[in-house]
Symmetry: C2
Subunit: 339 residues, 2 copies
DNA sequence: ATGAAAGCGCTAACAT
DNA sequence: ATGTTAGCGCTTTCAT
């Protein structure tokens, strides 16, 4: 039987209200009673029942975060950042995984709403947004979409993400800036994000007045093999035949590592003959063998922004803050692209 | 304003009770009323307020999981497994991170208890267990300690973990079984777990009648460098001088990868001259370059057991099930130890 | 098969 | 500075 407010009040011949006031740091309490209460609280190891509090106040001081997975460094950094940010403001985070696809995501949304979370942050994998539009009818809970643009028609929704186009662009511009003229690209999956980054790659070439050479873009390496393998085989294909290249942008760090291994096996010098850059800045991978330059996709910063945005939405008036927050990716230089 | 039970009841000229009964699948309701209720529930998109329900019933259908971090594959597999397991039984999981050390862990415990979780699962980083002993006085919430033995004095606590000694033992026995006679060991940190695995290594040597050669145990490679670097340098030290070795057990996969790279740089053939095995079975790492044999530390299975144990403790009588569940590690063979 | 009343532990609003 | 009353949305208990 846990200790209740009433127990403390009875013990001290006070009303529940006085005890409640002490616990919430109200001013209107005499120092002596305050001290008495705090002591008894400590003695009995009292913990307020937040369920009861929530029912009464209508606020749970809890937010929900839904992510497809936590396996990737990116996702776990993001979750950590959201957690830290909102916790500093007295909120807690419930993390839900939607690994089993969009049905699982929808169930999690329902669940978190049933739990009366004060805000909902979602790294969505939904193709369509109709599900969320349906929600907004009755619910006024702030919705923060992460890395996946939110439907404009939902007026309590905001979007926080990274400037995906810049991921491809900055990587490519960097290679060009160190003298690369024939930059190859190991393309990722044909997703919304994958396509944006590829656009950035092409934009950078165009802006530098360089031609876009389709033969230097490796695509369709089956997702059935590992990323390492795809990077390895991609580089082999690039290095074979007569398609010369002097720079390589890889969609992920693991693909870049695979590509560098393949280059090494062919006796190609990195960075002298081919400069390489990945994305994700997964430190453990980037610090192996030839240290790998990479585009940091700023998981922590995105999480921080998302957390702050949610806090703002909860407290502030409806229109507080921007509806779209875009965090810039960061270039991290290491040996693989140093000349 | 969210829809309440009362709204549905009023709409249909029923009492709240009837509606409540329908929603909880009670039998004593006529098919017609049931249908009417369900339809209205759907129309209004009603979601039961679990906060109110919890306050009334005393159960939240929620468990808390505290982990130091989710960056490692192991931890995220574990969390996923716990989540899946308990969710199938109608429970939800609140994941808390204790990255900032044991103070942060303790805050999380308080927090989750304040949230009235029905069970608490902890991958603890506490040195001492006095904190938890203090808890058990008033709290009867089931406590499941993961990978860190629980104090016997806490009677609502159970322990679920992996047989750490066997991690070192199985790896070593495997190398011996393929003919290695001079097995080296890249030792991990001097922690509880690190020491248990080292014990397994020595046990295996002893049982096979092989001498324990201290010069083949690499230790004290500063944690200030990356794991890759430590593995790399460790192998260089082993390969230099006259300490011959024909097998290597590494504390982590990343150390093994570093060691294999160092071996390659010295022209040493793996697995022919030196067979290598890691631990953790981090697939992304194990499938790079020379595929790495590894001891799978069964994060998913441990999580599953932990979840099941928690469920059993919640429903069953106090004494249900074993107080200690030990999951065996699994040997995963790949090329690095195939002869 | 359905309903009325009471109460879970807490706090907002209004006394005193 | 402290106390009283009422009620958050639901379910348990006891009617009918």
């Amino acid at each position: 039987m846990p200790v209740r407010l009433k127990d403390i009040a009875n013990d001290l011949n006070l009303s529940q209200m006085t005890v409640s006031r002490v616990l919430r740091g109200h001013i209107d309490v005499s120092p002596e009673t305050k001290a008495r209460v705090l002591q008894r609280v400590k003695e009995l190891n009292y913990r307020p029942n937040v369920v009861a509090r929530s029912l009464r106040t209508g606020y749970t001081s809890t937010m929900g975060l839904i992510v497809p997975s936590l396996r990737e460094t990116y996702a776990s950094e993001l979750a950590k950042a959201v957690d830290k940010t909102i916790r500093a403001a007295g909120y807690e985070l419930i993390v839900c995984l939607s690994e089993d696809g969009s049905a699982s995501e929808q169930r999690n949304v329902e669940l978190l709403l049933a739990h009366q979370v004060d805000a909902l942050l979602i790294v969505s994998i939904q193709e369509s947004t109709t599900f969320f539009q349906g929600l907004s009818h009755k619910q006024k809970v702030p919705l923060v979409f992460i890395n996946h643009k939110s439907p404009d028609s939902i007026d309590n929704a905001v979007f926080v993400g990274i400037r995906e186009v810049d991921v491809g662009r900055i990587a490519t511009e960097h290679l060009i800036s160190i003298g690369c003229r024939r930059v190859a690209y190991l393309r990722g999956p044909r997703t919304y994000i994958g396509d944006l980054r590829y656009t950035g790659f092409r934009d950078a070439l165009r802006d530098a007045g360089l031609p876009h050479r389709p033969e230097l873009v490796i695509d369709g390496l089956g997702a059935e093999t590992s990323e390492y393998r795809r990077g390895f085989d991609g580089m082999l294909r690039l290095a074979s035949g007569k398609r010369r290249l002097d720079g390589l942008v890889a969609y992920t760090d693991m693909m870049a590592v695979g590509a560098m291994d393949a280059a090494q096996s062919k006796g190609i010098d990195i960075p002298k003959e081919i400069a390489v850059i990945g994305s994700g800045n997964e430190v453990r991978l980037c610090e192996m063998r030839i240290p790998l330059s990479s585009i940091d996709t700023a998981g922590y910063e995105v999480g921080q922004s998302a957390g702050r945005t949610a806090l703002r939405r909860i407290s502030g008036a409806a229109g507080s803050g921007a509806r779209n927050v875009l965090v810039p990716p960061k270039l991290v230089l290491r040996r693989s692209s140093t000349r």
